[in-house]
C-alpha cells in the first residue's frame, strides 16, 4: 500500500520543483532598445561581424574557452576552460570546465570544442563550394538551406585562424590546439569574438544552417526564446548556467531605429535601457534626475585613412601634414563632451607588455603642417574626402571640423557625400581620404595593425596603401616568438604607418552610451557587450 502511494506520488514530486520555480520566478524581465539587433539576420558569431552583434552575443549567449573580464579591462579570464598552458610554440592545451551545460541540457565536452572548430561549422567541407556564376536569385550552394556553410563564414574563420592545423580531444575535459606555424597569439585568438563554443548535437539536429544560426545552442546564461529578424530578439534565462542562476527571467532586445523613439520609450518606462545614445543627447536625458547615461570608451578607434596613390597624397609629406593639422582634443571636447580620449596611436592598454606606452599620435602643430606642405610644393589642389552620413557617431560633424582644421594649414580638402561603403571604395574617380574604425579583437597588435593594415588587411587589399617594410614586419610580428623583438617590430610598424608613410591617423577612441534609470542596478562594460550575469545585476 505504501509502495503504491509512493508510486502515485512520484510524478507529482518530479513535477513539483519546476512548478515551484515557475511560481517563484519573480526575476525581472527587461527590454533593451537598440538601433539594430544584428546586421546579418543571424546569431552566428562568424556571420555577424559587427559591434551590435557583440552587444547581444556577450555575455548573454556565446562563450569561449578563454573569456574576458567584461567589467574590468577586458583582460583574459578563465571561461569554458579553467586553465591553459603552452606545450610548445605551436600548441596550447586547455582544461575544460566540468559541469557546463548547453541550453539543450547536454554537458559540454571536448567533443563539442573540437566540433566548434571543425570543418562543418567553421572551415567548410569543401564539397559543393559555390562557383562563380551562381545568380543572386538563388541560394549559393544551398548554403543556408542545407548544412553547407555560407562562403563568407569560411572566409572569416580562416581570417581568425589562418594557420590552425587541428584541434584534438585529449580526453573528455582536455583539448589541444595545434598551429601549423609558431604563434604567440593563440591564447588571444581563443579569447576573440568568433572562437566560441556550441553544442555539436544542437548543430546536427537543426534542419538547416540558417535554422541553427538563428537559434544556436550555446552555454551562455540566456538562450534564444524568439528571434524576429529586423524586429527583436528575446532571450530566456538558462537556469543550468555554470556561473550561477541568471538574475533576469527574460531579456528582450527590440529594434528602435530612431534615437528620439528610443529615448521616449525609456522615459515612458517601456524600455529598461536605451542604447546607442549620441553624445549630444546625454545632457538632455540626465536633466531628468531619475535617469543616467552610462558607458564610455570601447576597444575601437576612429581613424582617418589615406589613399597614397592619389596624385596629391603620393607625397608622404602631404599625408604627414594632414596628421599634424588635427586638434584631436578639440574634437573630443566639442563633439564627445570629453567622454572619450585621444589614444596613443593604434593600440590599446590591454595589449599588456606589447603596449608601447611612450608612443603618441602625431602632435597638433599647424606650423609643422605648413612647413611640410611647402616642402612638398603643395599648391592647393583639391583632395577628395568621401564621407558617409553618420555611419559612425558624429561622423559628419567630425569631418566638417577636420576640413576646417586642414584649411587652416593650407590644405584644400573637399567633402564628397556618398551613400555606402561600395561607393567609398570605388575607383571610378581618384580616392584620397575616408573614415574608418579599427578594433582589436584580441590583446595583441596582430589583431589590429597587421589584420587591418598589413599585407592581407583591408587597406592594402583595396589598394589604398602598401609599404614593403611594413609587410615584412607584419609577417615577423605574426610568427615571431621572441617577445622583446616583437615589441621592437610593433613600434617600428607604428612609426611607418602613423608617421613616416602615413596609412592612417587615429582621431580618438570610440565610445558607446547607454541610458537607463538610475535605480536600475547595472553597470556598463567598456565594450558594446552588455553583461547581464548575476554579478552585474542588483549588486
Amino acid at each position: 500500500m505504501i509502495r503504491r502511494r509512493l508510486l502515485l506520488a512520484t510524478p507529482a514530486l518530479a513535477a513539483l520543483p519546476r512548478f515551484a520555480i515557475a511560481q517563484a520566478d519573480q526575476r525581472p524581465a527587461i527590454t533593451v532598445a537598440v538601433q539594430k539587433v544584428v546586421n546579418s539576420n543571424t546569431l552566428e558569431v562568424l556571420r555577424e561581424q559587427s559591434n551590435v552583434g557583440e552587444r547581444v552575443f556577450y555575455t548573454a549567449m556565446w562563450e569561449g574557452l578563454i573569456g574576458r573580464n567584461w567589467l574590468g579591462k577586458l583582460e583574459s579570464v578563465p571561461g569554458l576552460a579553467t586553465e591553459w598552458r603552452r606545450l610548445d610554440d605551436r600548441t596550447v592545451e586547455l582544461t575544460l570546465r566540468q559541469g557546463v551545460r548547453f541550453h539543450n541540457g547536454d554537458e559540454m565536452t571536448a567533443e563539442d570544442v573540437v566540433f566548434s572548430f571543425g570543418r562543418e561549422r567553421m572551415f567548410g567541407t569543401g564539397e559543393g563550394a559555390p562557383a562563380s556564376g551562381t545568380l543572386f536569385t538563388r541560394i549559393p550552394g544551398q548554403g543556408m538551406q542545407g548544412k553547407e556553410l555560407p562562403p563568407e563564414v569560411i572566409a572569416v574563420a580562416r581570417r581568425n585562424w589562418p594557420a590552425l592545423e587541428r584541434v584534438e580531444a585529449v580526453d573528455k575535459y582536455t583539448v589541444r590546439f595545434v598551429n601549423r606555424t609558431p604563434d604567440v597569439t593563440m591564447e588571444g585568438r581563443l579569447a576573440r569574438y568568433g572562437s566560441d563554443i556550441h553544442s555539436r548535437r544542437g548543430f546536427e539536429e537543426a534542419a538547416t544552417w540558417l535554422d541553427w544560426a538563428r537559434k544556436p545552442i550555446t552555454t551562455g546564461p540566456y538562450m534564444v526564446a524568439e528571434f524576429r529578424p529586423d524586429v527583436s530578439l528575446t532571450l530566456a534565462a538558462h537556469d543550468q548556467y555554470w556561473g550561477g542562476r541568471p538574475p533576469l527571467r527574460q531579456i528582450r532586445f527590440v529594434e528602435v531605429p530612431e534615437v528620439a523613439s528610443r529615448i521616449n520609450g525609456l522615459l515612458s518606462g517601456e524600455y529598461t535601457f536605451a542604447c546607442d545614445i549620441p553624445p549630444d543627447q546625454i545632457t538632455g536625458i540626465e536633466r531628468n534626475r531619475a535617469f543616467e547615461v552610462q558607458g564610455g570608451t570601447i576597444l575601437n578607434h576612429r581613424l582617418t585613412v589615406f589613399d597614397k596613390h592619389h596624385p596629391t597624397l603620393r607625397d608622404a609629406r602631404v599625408r604627414r601634414a594632414l596628421t599634424h593639422a588635427i586638434d584631436r582634443q578639440a574634437i573630443v571636447d566639442s563633439l564627445w563632451a570629453g567622454r572619450t580620449v585621444v589614444p596613443k596611436g593604434l593600440q590599446w592598454d590591454y595589449y599588456g607588455e606589447m603596449f608601447v606606452s611612450d608612443w603618441s599620435v602625431p602632435r597638433y602643430d599647424v606650423a609643422e603642417a605648413r612647413r611640410l606642405l611647402r616642402e612638398a610644393g603643395y599648391r592647393g589642389d583639391p583632395i577628395p574626402y568621401r564621407l558617409l552620413n553618420n555611419y559612425y557617431t558624429n561622423q559628419v560633424g567630425t569631418a566638417q571640423i577636420l576640413v576646417e582644421m586642414w584649411r587652416q594649414a593650407g590644405l584644400n580638402v573637399q567633402i564628397q557625400m556618398v551613400e555606402n561603403w561600395a561607393q567609398i571604395f570605388s575607383r571610378e574617380t581618384p580616392r584620397a581620404i575616408r573614415d574608418w574604425s579599427n578594433s582589436a579583437p584580441f590583446n595583441d597588435p596582430v589583431s589590429s595593425i597587421v589584420n587591418q593594415h598589413g599585407p592581407n588587411g583591408q587597406q592594402q587589399q583595396v589598394g589604398e596603401w602598401t609599404n614593403e617594410e611594413m609587410n615584412r614586419l607584419s609577417v615577423e610580428l605574426e610568427t615571431s616568438t621572441d617577445r622583446a623583438r616583437r615589441r621592437v617590430v610593433f613600434r617600428r610598424m607604428l612609426e611607418i604607418a602613423e608617421r613616416e608613410d602615413p596609412a592612417f591617423t587615429v582621431l580618438h577612441q570610440n565610445a558607446t552610451f547607454t541610458a537607463k534609470r538610475r535605480d536600475t542596478p547595472w553597470k556598463a562594460s567598456p565594450a558594446f557587450a552588455m553583461d547581464f550575469r548575476a554579478g552585474n545585476w542588483g549588486a
Binding site: 539576420n41 561581424q49 543572386f136 555560407p150 572566409a155 531605429p257 523613439s261 521616449n264 561603403w421 587589399q461
Partner: protein
C-alpha cells in the same frame, strides 16, 4: 470593355517592367551589395566570397537578364542577407502594415470628407476657417514630427499609450492617428475645393431656383459631382496601403513593409526591394483601375465617352 481592360492590363505590365528595371539599375549601380551587407570591417576575402557566391561578380547586364527571366518564371529571388525567400519575407510583414494603414484610411475618409463638405457648405464661417487651419497644419506638419509630438504627450507626459513597438492594439493607436490625421487633412482640402467648385455651377443654382430642398441639392447634385477628385485621392491612398507608412513605421518601431523596405534599400538587398516595389506597383495599378471604373459610375458622361468618340 474587354479591350479597355486588356489595354489597362498591358499598360500595367509595362509600368511594372519599367519599375523593376529602374529599381535594378539604380540599386545595382549605386553600390556593391556584398560590401554593404558584409560591412566595413569584413575581411576582403569574405566580401569576395559573398560576391562570387551570389553572382555579383558577373556583368550587370547578365545579372539583369537572369533576374528578369527569373521574375517572369515566378521566382522573385531571395534575400541576400539570409537566403530567405523574398516573397515570404515581404508577405510576412503585410498584415502589420495593413493593421496601421487600413484603420488610418478609415480615419482619413471618415474625418476628411465630412470636414471638407462642412467647410465648403459654410464657406468663410468660423468653422470653415478652423477646419482649414487644422487641415493646413495636418497637411504641412511632417508625419515624423506629428508622431514624435503625439508620443511626447500621450506616452511620455501622460503615460496613457505606448511609445512604440507592436505588441497589441494599444501600440497601434498613435501610429494610426499619425497616419490618419495627415491623410484626413489632405482629403478635407480636396473635398472642400471640389465642393466649392461644384456649388458654383449653374445646375446647382438651377436646382435651387426650382425649389429643390438644399439637402437634396447637396446630396443628389453636388456630392456626386464633387466626388471625382476625392475618389482619385482615395484611390492613391488605397494604392499606398502596402508601403505608405515608411516614416511612421520607423518612428514607432512598427515592423511592417515600410521598415523592411528601408532596411532592404540600405543593404541593397535587391530581391526584397524588387518584391516590395512589385507589390506596391501592382496595388497602385489595381487601385487606379478601380478608380477608373468608379469614374464611369459617378459620371455618366465618362461612361459614354468612348462610345461617342467611336461614333
Amino acid at each position: 470593355m474587354l479591350r479597355f481592360l486588356l489595354g489597362r492590363i498591358g499598360r500595367a505590365a509595362l509600368t511594372i517592367a519599367m519599375v523593376v528595371t529602374f529599381a535594378f539599375v539604380v540599386l545595382r549601380l549605386s553600390g556593391d551589395p556584398a560590401q554593404i551587407i558584409m560591412g566595413a570591417d569584413a575581411p576582403p576575402e569574405a566580401v569576395d566570397a559573398f560576391r562570387t557566391a551570389w553572382g555579383l561578380d558577373q556583368p550587370v547586364w547578365v545579372q539583369y537578364f537572369h533576374y528578369f527571366g527569373a521574375i517572369l518564371s515566378g521566382d522573385l529571388g531571395r534575400s541576400m542577407r539570409d537566403g530567405r525567400d523574398a516573397l515570404v519575407l515581404v508577405t510576412e510583414r503585410i498584415p502589420a502594415t495593413l493593421a496601421l494603414t487600413l484603420p488610418a484610411l478609415l480615419i482619413k475618409i471618415g474625418l476628411g470628407i465630412p470636414a471638407g463638405i462642412y467647410a465648403a457648405l459654410h464657406r468663410n464661417s468660423l468653422a470653415d476657417r478652423i477646419v482649414m487651419v487644422v487641415a493646413v497644419a495636418g497637411f504641412t506638419v511632417p508625419s515624423f514630427v506629428l508622431g514624435l509630438l503625439l508620443v511626447l504627450v500621450f506616452a511620455v507626459q501622460l503615460g496613457w499609450l505606448p511609445s512604440g513597438g507592436q505588441e497589441g492594439w494599444r501600440h497601434a493607436i498613435l501610429p494610426v492617428i499619425t497616419l490618419g490625421l495627415g491623410g484626413a487633412a489632405v482629403l478635407a482640402r480636396f473635398t472642400r475645393s471640389a465642393m466649392l467648385e461644384v456649388l458654383g455651377q449653374p445646375y446647382i443654382r438651377t436646382a435651387s431656383a426650382k425649389g429643390v430642398p438644399w439637402r437634396a441639392v447637396v446630396t443628389r447634385h453636388a456630392l456626386p459631382n464633387a466626388a471625382i477628385p476625392t475618389v482619385t485621392i482615395i484611390g492613391f491612398m488605397v494604392g499606398s496601403l502596402i508601403a505608405g507608412a515608411v516614416v511612421v513605421e520607423s518612428v514607432f518601431s512598427w515592423p511592417g513593409v515600410g521598415r523592411l523596405l528601408v532596411v532592404a534599400v540600405a543593404n541593397r538587398d535587391l530581391a526584397v526591394v524588387q518584391c516590395i516595389l512589385l507589390l506596391v506597383a501592382t496595388t497602385m495599378v489595381c487601385a487606379n483601375l478601380v478608380v477608373d471604373l468608379l469614374y464611369g459610375l459617378l459620371d455618366p458622361r465618362l461612361r459614354s465617352a468612348p462610345r461617342r468618340a467611336g461614333a
